[in-house]
């Protein structure tokens, strides 16, 4: 039952965040907000990349090697093929392989 409550809370807060700008800025969008709307998405994606890699331990075996190698694979595939799908699948495969081999 507690789980159902927590799921409802996650759903409600997520929806509120998505809807808030539409509720608050109903009439017109200030120039500053439009500017943020343009430059924030790439910055936030950069933030998410670091967020996902935050558990790497560079000083402890395996020194973050599986993550870094798989990340390099994703970047390389994206530059080469420009297909997010191919990049995600190959990077994940490299990661799943490396954590079994390197550890």
């Amino acid at each position: 039952m507690k789980s159902a409550l927590l799921i409802a809370v996650m759903a409600a807060v997520t929806l509120l965040l998505r809807a808030l700008p539409f509720l608050v800025l109903r009439k017109r969008t200030p120039a500053y907000i439009s500017y943020l709307g343009r430059v924030l998405p790439p910055a936030i994606i950069g933030m998410l990349v670091i967020y996902c890699l935050k558990d790497i331990t560079p000083a402890v075996r395996p020194f973050g090697l599986p993550e870094l190698a798989a990340a390099a694979c994703v970047v390389g595939m994206q530059v080469w093929r420009r297909s997010a799908l191919i990049s995600i699948l190959s990077g994940t495969a490299v990661y799943m392989l490396l954590i079994r081999v390197i550890l």
């Binding site: 910055a43 994606i45 798989a70 990049s87 994940t92």
Partner: protein
């Protein structure tokens, strides 16, 4: 016109299909491993519909987090959606009856498909954006159900499947970098967050990072707006 709109929306959503099936399946498997069955996984994918939050949410459920912790964590993990909505204000303004659902379903991926504002010729723009959102949502829910059911019978270990989420963001970052001549916002996000991670530690760096990013981008405004 309606048939063409459905067709074009489906084609647009195809690149997200496999990504969502993989990521959604990963989520379904995590839920299975945490002891939650298919109804739980499906409800979360249907009602929350936010990938990274659902991955984090599995930990919150199993760790028995408090309601307050869940609220704060959701705000931190999903605060970026504020910015997606902000940049879609103009485009979604006149979406009429489709608007509430489109706002609910504005995920990272749906945003990345629709944020350039391009709509194919001869389609109803609002219906088109609504359907792209709906197709993506259905892949996500299907993945959650599939992963939860298959997770129990897969003959091999699925450890590491969670990297698909990291890979998704790295791919988006790279694609964004390749398609834009202005790398300053992307670098600001990457380096500010890295700095905050080193200074504040991995438990509490996300909010300082968001503040620092917003601050730096505000200072850069004159320069950025002068750029072509």
């Amino acid at each position: 016109m309606k048939k063409r709109t459905v067709q074009q929306a489906f084609l647009k959503s195809v690149p997200v299909m496999a990504g969502y099936l993989v990521l959604g399946t990963g989520f379904g498997i995590l839920m299975r491993n945490a002891g939650y069955g298919v109804l739980w996984a499906a409800s979360m994918s249907l009602l929350i519909y936010a990938g990274s939050m659902q991955y984090v949410g599995v930990g919150l459920l199993t760790g028995g987090a408090s309601v307050l912790t869940v609220i704060l964590t959701t705000v931190m993990v999903n605060a970026r959606h504020l910015f997606y909505s902000i940049s879609m204000l103009g485009r979604y303004r006149d979406a009429g009856k489709y608007k509430p659902y489109m706002i609910f379903a504005l995920t990272d991926e749906t945003y990345s498909l629709l944020c350039d504002g391009e709509v194919p010729e001869g389609v109803d723009a609002n219906l088109y954006r609504f359907l792209v959102s709906l197709f993506n949502h259905s892949y996500w829910v299907a993945g959650g159900i599939l992963g939860n059911l298959l997770g129990a019978v897969l003959p091999f270990s699925t450890a590491g499947i969670e990297f698909s989420m990291t890979a998704l963001f790295i791919a988006s970052f790279t694609e964004q970098w390749l398609s834009s001549g202005d790398h300053l916002p992307a670098l600001t996000g990457l380096l500010s967050t890295l700095l905050c991670l080193l200074v504040f530690g991995k438990e509490s760096f996300l909010i300082p990072a968001m503040l620092l990013i917003t601050g730096i981008l505000t200072l850069l405004r004159r320069r950025e707006e002068a750029a072509p």
